[in-house]
Amino acid sequence: MDFELDDEQLELQRVVRDIVGRECPPALVRAVVDGSDDGSGLWKTFVQLDWPTLTVPGDDGGMGMSAVELVITLEELGRVADPTPFLATTSQYVPVVRACAHGGLRTELLGAVCAGRTGAVAFAADAVRARRDGGGWVLDGSAAHVIDGDRADELAVVARTDQGIGVFVVPAGVAAAARTPTFDAAFHVADIELGGVHVGEDRGFVGPEVEDGVARARQEAVTGLAAVTVGASQRVLEMVLGHIKDRKQFGVPIGSFQAVKHMAVDMYVAIERARALCHFAALTIAEDDPRRALGASLAKAAAGDCQRLVARHGVQLFGGLGFTWENDLQIYLRRAKVGEPLLGSTAEHRAGAARLVLAHQHPTEAA
């Protein structure tokens, strides 16, 4: 077991941190929130760097990296509250297309990502049905809380069919998407009405391997969202540490008080715990380890614990100075919390992890 980032991974982390630190300052996020910028300039920068193709295989024109590099990158993007559709494109859409699409469309869709097109996924097998309709498919139902569902160029809909789970790739504009309000206005979530949407034969994929592919892609999506949460939490901690070292009361920095120190340490430990599990989840995906389902749930559960504690202590330790719109704390606080209810809540993933482990226990008890 080698649980350290290697030199190339550390270099990637450094490069991404440098670039997004420069290109995505708090002022940009604020501009996106108030509507004076749409983040497209930042997206173009990412495209020029090939980052959206991080896990697109080399043969398909991408960088061909693993989920570990993806998680490293997403953590840094969480740290700056990235306002682009990077998360959905790289950790949801690309994995679904990679795992489920085949033939010419797969090449076309992955090629489009390399050219800067974006994608999102509606994991809506419980809410959307697909029926055969002549040479293609017709969808029925609606998908709620789809990350970037209102602005992605392509939407991959996971729906139920008579032959099991299927994936149906719908171009933007075909389905009615309505962005829903969230407290993190730089993060897009949408409800999508899919009733009567027709999908061509070449854009629908069904079969046992698709069902398996969806499950695997969802693990990557869950892990990616956890990584964003960890990155945003890390930013909150960094801001808090700066504040409690500088802020003096009673003639001393408030960070010298044990009550304050211990809260900061608990934030730090919660972040380390969650980050370790994000890396583990990514590693199980990269190595296709049988623990990948468990890994993703552990990462999401720990990230949920992490943001909960970091947000609570973070606002508290800033005192009144953090309770303003002007303080950038609120930007990262929002990003840390926005992922909690999406793709399975903290409690759902915690219970899911418990079930996976309990399934291997023996019903024995000491007398």
Binding site: L241, K245, H262, A302, G352, L358, T364
Partner: protein, 398 residues
């Protein structure tokens, strides 16, 4: 980053596992004679420890003459992992094996190694650690037991407390004040004191578990004469030995918490399954939390292992101890409460007894919960760990 160890490490693991299969003690013999304290090694366990020493499997990182085979850090880790997985205690005098012998091997003379370190490793004698005093707990450097050098001997007066296993130990590695005028860290020395020395009195006292749970001792020194040659390290330089000793203790601690968490998953999972509680939402929540902690601790531990391997001084032992000890405590309490009224019986084991391990690891949930406080108090309390992390890792002002 990768999930597996390299082939050389796995070959080492296979060799050790094969040796264990061949040589592990007979559980029936082990059941017949139990250890009564952390310095009481039953005859079968002495034989077992000696066998491990002779085969170079007791402390694989040591050279052969000290019970090892010059194994690498990762191999040492894998060795610990296999013993933990199989619930085998390498020594029923754990302080001797993991703190006292290594301290003497690092700071002692050749003669001292021969007289005390090797016999402790070979289970010919047992040893206890004399650190804490009534007024020196977290502030260990404030210790006041006084030793005056008088010609070729020290005369020791004072008191130690929490000295685990002292009543069954042959020697105590004691930290004493030899220069009362120096700053507190600079006037401490380290002595090996035989427990049969005239003037030395040991009084075992019951722990919170039971009046009959006798492991802790008060140790009183009343003009106890100790030969000058029993000084470990240099005069007044005992703090270096102490931090070295605690270093040994801390370096191994995270793995012991990881083993406890693994055991909680195993014993807790079996118990919950047997009791039909595996669909209870509260149980799923608390058990899921345990699984998160278990994996996180192990992963963070692997990271410190990789750092240590590269020679980077791990700043993370405090994080591991804090996270591990508090996770064990929370999960044990969750299990105690999941038992309902059946958790009231203090004699109802939480899991079948592992004959080759210490009994406390399968004691009742109540006892395991009480003992979890040893993790959050001994070896630096959770509050001290938080101070250390705040100052050394987060850079907060003292």
């Amino acid at each position: 980053m990768r999930l597996s160890f390299d082939e050389q490490t796995e070959a080492f693991r296979r060799e050790f596992v094969a040796w264990l299969d061949e040589n592990a003690p007979d559980p029936a013999t082990a059941l017949a004679e139990r250890s009564r304290s952390s310095a009481d090694i039953p005859a079968w366990a002495r034989e077992w420890q000696r066998k491990m020493f002779d085969a170079g499997w007791l402390v694989p990182g040591n050279p052969p003459e000290h019970g090892g085979r010059n194994a690498s850090l990762v191999e040492v880790f894998v060795h610990q992992e296999e013993l933990g997985r199989r619930h085998i205690y390498p020594s029923h005098n754990p302080q001797g094996l993991t703190i006292i012998a290594p301290s003497i091997l690092v700071f002692g003379t050749e003669e001292q190694k021969r007289r005390w370190a090797v016999p402790v490793l070979r289970a010919e004698i047992t040893a206890a650690l004399g650190m804490s005093e009534p007024d020196a707990g977290s502030d260990l450097a404030g210790l006041r037991t006084r030793a005056v050098l008088d010609g070729d001997r020290f005369v020791v007066n004072g008191q130690k407390v929490w000295t685990s296993g002292a009543h069954d130990a042959d020697v105590i590695l004691a930290f004493v004040r030899t220069d009362p005028d120096a700053p507190k860290h600079k006037g401490i020395s380290c002595l090996v004191i035989p427990t049969d020395s005239p003037g030395l009195t040991r009084r075992p006292f019951g722990s919170i578990v039971s009046p009959d749970d006798l492991d802790f001792n008060e140790v009183f020194f009343d003009d106890v004469e100790v030969p000058a040659e029993n000084l470990i390290g240099q005069l007044h330089q005992g703090w270096r030995v102490a931090t070295g000793s605690l270093g040994h203790e801390r370096a191994m601690l995270w793995l012991s918490f990881a083993e406890r968490l693994d055991a909680l998953v195993e014993h807790g999972g079996d118990t919950l399954t047997a009791r039909g509680l595996t669909d209870d939402p509260l149980v799923l929540d608390s058990f899921g939390n345990l699984v998160v902690d278990d994996y996180a601790l192990r992963l963070l531990g692997y990271r410190t292992l990789a750092q240590a391997r590269r020679g980077v001084e791990a700043t993370e032992q405090s994080i591991l101890k804090l996270l591990g000890s508090e996770a064990v405590q929370a999960a044990t309490l969750d299990m105690l409460e999941a038992m309902g009224p059946d958790g009231l019986d203090p004699d109802r084991r939480s899991a079948p007894l592992d004959p080759l391990h210490s009994e406390v690891f399968t004691a009742s949930w109540w006892e395991r919960y009480l003992r979890s406080f040893a993790g959050t108090i001994a070896g630096g309390t959770s509050q001290i760990q938080r101070n250390i992390i705040a100052e050394r890792v987060l850079g907060l002002p003292r």
